[in-house]
């Protein structure tokens, strides 16, 4: 079994084991198995990083088996510089989620942990799949555990949020399915993504394919105006659900643009780049303002996620190295930062059971250690130099300047808006006088919470201070991608 297969199936095997044997009576064992499974799944992704060869754009750790011969579907896996970092990132976030749920989830622990482990394996599968249909199977299958997670452990309005999440995402994906089958037909019976990259297609076909993929990925990212499921899902989901949703699931959509839209329909991508750019700028500007007026902390971070993901899509469609690399770096850093932001909200929510900003004030007085972490992550969220949030945004803005000054100008307003909504929340929640008795009675974070926040803080700082390892591995792949996109595929 190859390394990537192991990274996919190990967490799924652990998750299935938990579903099969776990009961609430033996919750302690369940938690232990879940942690072992998550850590083991993370450890098997370490060799993916250390053994990765950054000097080639070819697929590495490739595996290829016949799967459904009737349709020539293969079980084909592989990673390149575009996708490599998401494999360990997914496994890492899953470890954090398991730690975060340790004491918080008391009901149906086994199902909760099992769902997250299975989800983790499926998401790794999305990033590794090199067969169009295998990609689709993983992409769609992630909906099932997330639907259950939101619906079972979510907040009061969880049913509505779970349905909205599921149906919105399914709408886009079904159009993508038709597009995938059409590509299968056009390529003479192959689901091989790399073969599709080379397939010449007339412009109107490319346009249809581009918009079919756009339907799937823009909902997942999510881009304005199909973003409305995200705030609902985030608000209702349990903390772990929000973390995974923001840190990994949104990236599935962004990754799809890189793997499908750009290389398969390069001419249509250039033709309709303005659509993406316009929608991304709306996300950055308008959603930034929307975030400013939120009363609910989770909603605020959810809207800030949309704005940050707007940066990602913007970077992709600048068609230059800085833009694309910056966007990928932004995806990774947003994985750490947004995950950490939701965890911070979770820490407060577990104690006070409120997500309203107005319920807090002066938390720094009673929870100094926690406030230090929270402020660090908030700074990263508004892109302070030295934190992970800065690197990606800076690179995308530089890339945008090369493309068009005014786009760069509008995009860089995010630094103002981002700082505004994040710091204003920090001020209202953490600083000032102790607002009420709830805040006065707060206990500072314990060892478990310190561990999970500390791990994320280390990642955020490491990436902010020394991003070179992250960008080095993607240089060649991004250059190859851009070279490919620059050449017309019309015939």
């Amino acid at each position: 079994m190859g390394l990537l297969s192991l990274a996919i199936w190990l967490p799924i095997a652990f998750g299935t084991l938990l579903l099969a044997v776990g009961r609430d009576e033996n919750a302690g064992v369940v938690r232990a198995i879940a942690l072992v499974g998550a850590v083991a799944s993370f450890l098997v992704t370490i060799p993916v990083i250390t053994g990765f060869n950054g000097s080639t754009a070819a697929m590495q750790y490739a595996e290829n088996l016949d799967w459904v011969p009737r349709f020539n579907i293969h079980y084909a896996l592989g990673v390149d510089g575009l996708s490599m970092w998401f494999v360990p990132l997914t496994a890492f976030i899953t470890v954090i989620v398991v730690i975060a749920a340790w004491q918080v989830i008391e009901q149906r622990v086994a199902s909760y942990m099992g769902a997250f482990l299975i989800l983790s394996g499926l998401m790794v599968g999305v990033f590794c799949a090199m067969d169009g249909l295998l990609f689709y199977v993983f992409f769609e299958a992630t909906l099932i555990p997330m639907y259950i997670i939101i619906g079972v452990w979510g907040g009061p309005n969880r049913v509505y949020a779970a349905f909205k999440f599921f149906l919105y995402t399914l709408l886009g994906s079904l159009l993508m399915l038709v597009a995938l089958v059409y590509l299968y037909f056009k390529s003479g019976g192959s689901f091989d993504i790399l073969a599709w990259h080379k397939l010449p297609l007339p412009l109107h076909t490319q346009t249809l394919l581009f918009f079919a993929f756009f339907a799937a990925f823009s909902v997942k990212v999510p881009m304005w105006p199909v973003h409305t499921w995200l705030p609902d899902a985030h608000v209702e989901a349990p903390t772990g659900g929000s973390v995974v949703l923001a840190a990994i699931m949104l990236k599935l959509g962004a990754y799809g643009f890189l793997r499908f839209s750009l290389p398969i329909a390069p001419d249509a991508s250039r033709e309709y780049a303005w659509v993406i750019i316009a929608l991304s700028l709306i996300a950055v500007l308008y959603i930034g303002l929307v975030a400013l007026v939120q009363q609910d902390m989770k909603k605020l971070v959810a809207y800030s996620s949309i704005a940050h993901m707007g940066f990602v899509t913007l970077g992709f469609f600048m068609f230059n190295t800085l833009g694309v690399e910056g966007a990928i770096v932004q995806m990774i850093s947003h994985g750490f930062v947004s995950g950490a932001m939701f965890l911070c909200i979770g820490v407060l929510y577990d104690r006070v059971h409120s997500r309203e900003i107005a319920s807090y004030g002066g938390v720094a007085n009673t929870m100094p250690k926690f406030a230090a972490f929270a402020v660090l992550f908030s700074m990263a969220n508004c892109g302070l130099p030295g934190t992970a949030g800065f690197v990606g945004e800076w690179m995308v803005i530089l890339g945008a300047v090369k493309y068009n000054f005014w786009i760069a100008f509008l995009a860089s307003t995010t630094l103002v808006f981002g700082a505004a909504y994040t710091l204003w929340m920090v001020k209202r929640v953490y600083f000032g006088d102790v607002a009420n008795d709830h805040v006065r009675e707060l206990q500072d974070i314990d060892g478990r919470e310190f561990l999970m926040l500390g791990l994320l803080a280390a990642a955020v700082l490491a990436m902010g201070l020394y991003p070179k390892p992250f960008t080095d591995v993607m240089n060649v792949s991004v250059a190859e991608l851009l070279k490919h996109v620059a050449v017309s595929k019309l015939n």
């Binding site: 579903l19 799967w67 459904v68 011969p69 009737r70 349709f71 249909l133 689709y136 199977v137 769609e140 299958a141 909906l143 099932i144 639907y147 259950i148 619906g151 079972v152 969880r158 049913v159 779970a162 349905f163 599921f166 149906l167 399914l170 709408l171 079904l174 159009l175 399915l177 038709v178 089958v181 059409y182 299968y184 037909f185």
Partner: protein, 493 residues
């Protein structure tokens, strides 16, 4: 061609003998559980399946009874699947029969006769044999629906089923007589030849085809001939519902292929248009009406109508611009869809019977509330069934939908690609009501607290059924290849 060639009809003869034997065996047993009759029936069907599968691929097509019947891989495969689904149906149904006044020898005998009719239809090579098989099956099913005599809903359902079923048979017979009048033959291969080679008045043929398609539409339960489906599914005792909704679909598919494809492929341009209209209407009506249902059986009935729409779409993609190169692909996708659908349906109705008990039918969607806490394995199986019907990977339902969409898209015509988009959009609507069932099982608190009394056997069977739906998806390559092979051989005749 030997005149009689008896081995060709051995499976049917076996079922006929077994049916009579079961009735006799039952006369001499006093067991209120009807154990001997049940086990004899199961063994008889198992032997039947073994005969069918044993040499399903043993060389070329064979004819018997002076060309009245044919055995080919498609017929054998469909009959074997029908036999397997009847076996599963009986296993699910048995614990519920006694309390519903249906635990009688007649139940098993009639079930065997249903299968006999199905088997006859699968191997029919003549218009009259098609009709004969259809009536053997239908009359037995009417009787099965009415078996619960003192139950008003069941009686009403039986009446409706009988009246509309008889009407449909009439349509079919009228259409076939038109074709007979125009071509001068009842034998399906000769009809095909005559349409291809002689100058036959096309109006008469198309007139006949309209009635044939209407009759088949009734049997498949496609809009606008679907009126009986919800009432019968809901009203009939669940055991009978499953007998109606499972195995007979294989027979309906078999005669659709025999009549329309093997007999009247020359008129494909005409009947394909009708199928497309019926398919889109079925998808629309089935999916939209299912949303409004609170009765699980009625919801599943509408979902069946929608699923039939998908099968009809597969059937309508066979002939493109007069060329039949895509035919094997298209019809085998429909066949695979059918197998996937029946496998899933067996589980859903099996679950309804599993949850029912004396005086309580567990037919409402709300009755499933909190099932994930009361019976996690069963809830898990039902979740798999629902996601499979909704077409989510990695369940088998996804691969079935993929097969049909693929058969549409690879025709390469804009019209068929638009049809594929329409189909997936309707399956998005469909996802809503399947998700609602999952929601009730997982997100809601249990309302029913009475313990589930059924034995471990049925529960294990349900779990196996769930695993099959789950596993047949990713590992469906073999089954797909079998379907394709069978269809290609049937077309080659």
């Amino acid at each position: 061609m030997t005149p009689m060639n008896w081995p060709v009809v051995y499976p049917e003869l076996w079922l006929l003998v077994a049916g009579c034997a079961v009735l006799l065996v039952d006369l001499f047993t006093s067991d209120p559980e009807r154990g001997p009759a049940y086990w004899c029936t199961q063994v008889a069907i198992a032997v039947f399946v073994a005969i069918q599968l044993g040499d399903y691929n043993a060389g070329s097509t064979a004819y018997g009874m002076s060309g009245m019947v044919v055995v080919d891989p498609m017929g054998r495969l469909l009959a074997a699947f029908a036999g397997l689904s009847v076996m599963l149906t009986l296993a699910y149904a048995r614990p519920t029969l006694a309390s519903r006044d249906m635990q009688k020898g007649e139940f098993y005998m009639l079930t065997l006769f249903v299968l006999l009719g199905i088997s006859v239809m699968c191997s029919a090579n003549n218009f009259l044999v098609v009709y004969l098989g259809l009536e053997v099956m239908s009359l037995s099913l009417y009787a099965l629906t009415a078996l619960r005599r003192d139950h008003a809903l069941a009686t009403e359902a039986a009446m409706k089923y009988f009246v509309l079923g008889a009407l449909a048979s009439g349509f079919l017979l009228y259409g076939l007589s038109m074709i007979y009048g125009a071509t001068g033959t009842l034998e399906i291969p000769k009809v095909f030849d005559h349409i291809a080679n002689f100058r036959i008045n096309r109006e008469v043929l198309v007139f006949g085809v309209v009635f044939v398609v209407a009759g088949l539409g009734f049997k498949l339960g496609a809009v606008p001939f679907h009126m009986w489906v919800p009432d019968v599914y809901q009203g009939a005792p669940t055991a009978a519902t499953l007998l109606i909704g499972g195995a007979p679909k294989f027979a309906a598919f078999a005669i659709t292929i025999r009549l329309l494809v093997e007999g009247m492929l020359g008129l494909a341009v005409d009947w394909q248009q009708m199928l497309v209209v019926m398919a889109v209407a079925s998808l629309a009506v089935g999916n939209l009406a299912a949303i409004a249902q609170s009765n699980l059986k009625r919801m599943l009935a509408y979902s069946t109508i929608a699923q039939m729409g998908f099968i009809l779409l597969g059937l309508s993609a066979g002939v493109v611009g007069g060329s039949t190169v895509t035919a094997g692909n298209a019809y085998s996708s429909a066949m695979f869809y059918l197998v996937a659908y029946v496998l899933t349906t067996l589980g859903t109705f099996g679950l309804i019977m599993f949850l029912s008990r004396q005086g309580f039918e567990s037919e409402q969607i709300a009755d499933l509330a909190g099932l994930s806490r009361r019976a996690p394995w069963v809830a898990g199986a039902m979740t798999v069934f629902m996601f499979s019907l909704a077409g989510l990977p990695p369940m088998v339902g996804f691969f079935a939908k993929l097969a049909v969409i693929q058969s549409l898209v690879t025709t390469g015509t804009t019209f068929n690609i638009v049809l594929a988009v329409v189909a997936v959009m309707f399956s998005l609507i469909g996802a809503y009501y399947y998700l609602r069932v999952v929601k009730v099982m997982w997100f809601d608190e249990p309302v029913q607290t009475a313990p589930i009394v059924r034995g471990a056997g049925v529960s294990a069977l349900l779990a196996l059924n769930g695993i099959a739906v789950f596993v047949f998806g990713p590992f469906s390559g073999g089954l797909m290849a079998m379907c394709r092979d069978a269809i290609v051989k049937a077309l080659a005749n």
